[in-house]
Amino acid sequence: MFSTKHVVLLTIFLSLLQAHPIIFKGGKVIWLIDSPDITDIRFGKTFTRNFYSGVRVFNHKYNDESYIASNNNLLIKRWNGPSYQANIYGLSSIGLNLDSKKSMYNIGLHSDWENRRFMVMHMIEYSSFDQSTMNSVRLAFTPKITDYRGTAVWLIAQYSNHGFDNKNEESIIPVIRILKRNYLVEFGANGKETFLTLMTHF
């Protein structure tokens, strides 16, 4: 699909992008996502205040193929307000199909706004391995604002639109997010599909 030169050039280019999550400088993250489309395990480190790099191994459920990829995320812009934070991130992955050894890439843009009560997130990603586009929107709120040491519970409505093979598959999943210090658990289900995220920072 690509020559080695193309892969190297693409890696350099995509490494200039950067994505979600970007945490604190020096912070590391372990992240597991199991969604209707993908099972994804990531490990990475935030090297500067706006650059994250790591590895991910994921299984694409529609074609049941697995990939290993370098994942590089860039904080493009952040707005810090007295009671809110908003961010725009560039996301990128580049890697290989574990069976066929074909190269793959994935690029995206993630934007979010949150205060202590509400959160809005949008993400759009293009993946080369199935030439698909994924659009996700999350609207979230917490019924109870907790302090730093408390356990926070967020209720999230997650909408996804997966466009591939001239088809569009849409799903809406209610998700519950539980946060305690550096641990995050999310679980969602809509009767047909389930969604799970486990994440920790350290």
Binding site: F24, G81, P82, Q85, E114, D147, G150
Partner: protein, 122 residues
């Protein structure tokens, strides 16, 4: 005119309440920040500041510091026998993703001093 006066009154009462309710110990830096709305993200501030060279770790034990998300204040107990480098603390807070606004100190135990600081240092 009435609306302007009302807005100004509310603004000043907010500023007054923020400062008047603030308690700062002699051996403490209190840093006002912006954007610190998520507890999980604020964990980075704690992780970074717990490595501060002049931190007094006896006060908050393993946590090292105290974070108040309501007021956007970070309480850093300091060891006065060591060199206090405020920029070191500001940089760590910036590296965790937040802008810094001001540092409050009370070294003589009588009067809280407020010092405006750059919102970000590289």
């Amino acid at each position: 005119m009435k609306k302007t006066l009302l807005i100004l009154t509310l603004l000043f009462s907010f500023i007054y309440s923020q400062d008047s309710n603030l308690k700062v110990e002699k051996d403490e830096l209190v840093v006002e920040v912006s954007g610190m709305v998520c507890a999980m993200c604020a964990f980075g501030v704690q992780e970074g500041l717990s490595e501060l060279s002049f931190l007094n770790q006896k006060v908050y034990k393993a946590d090292g510091i105290n974070i108040d998300l309501d007021t956007q204040l970070i309480y850093i107990p300091i060891d006065l026998s060591k060199k206090i480098d405020e920029l070191e603390a500001i940089q760590i807070i910036n590296d965790a993703g937040y802008d810094t606004i001001a540092i409050y100190t009370n070294f003589d135990g009588k009067k809280i001093e407020k010092k405006n600081v750059p919102k970000s240092v590289s």
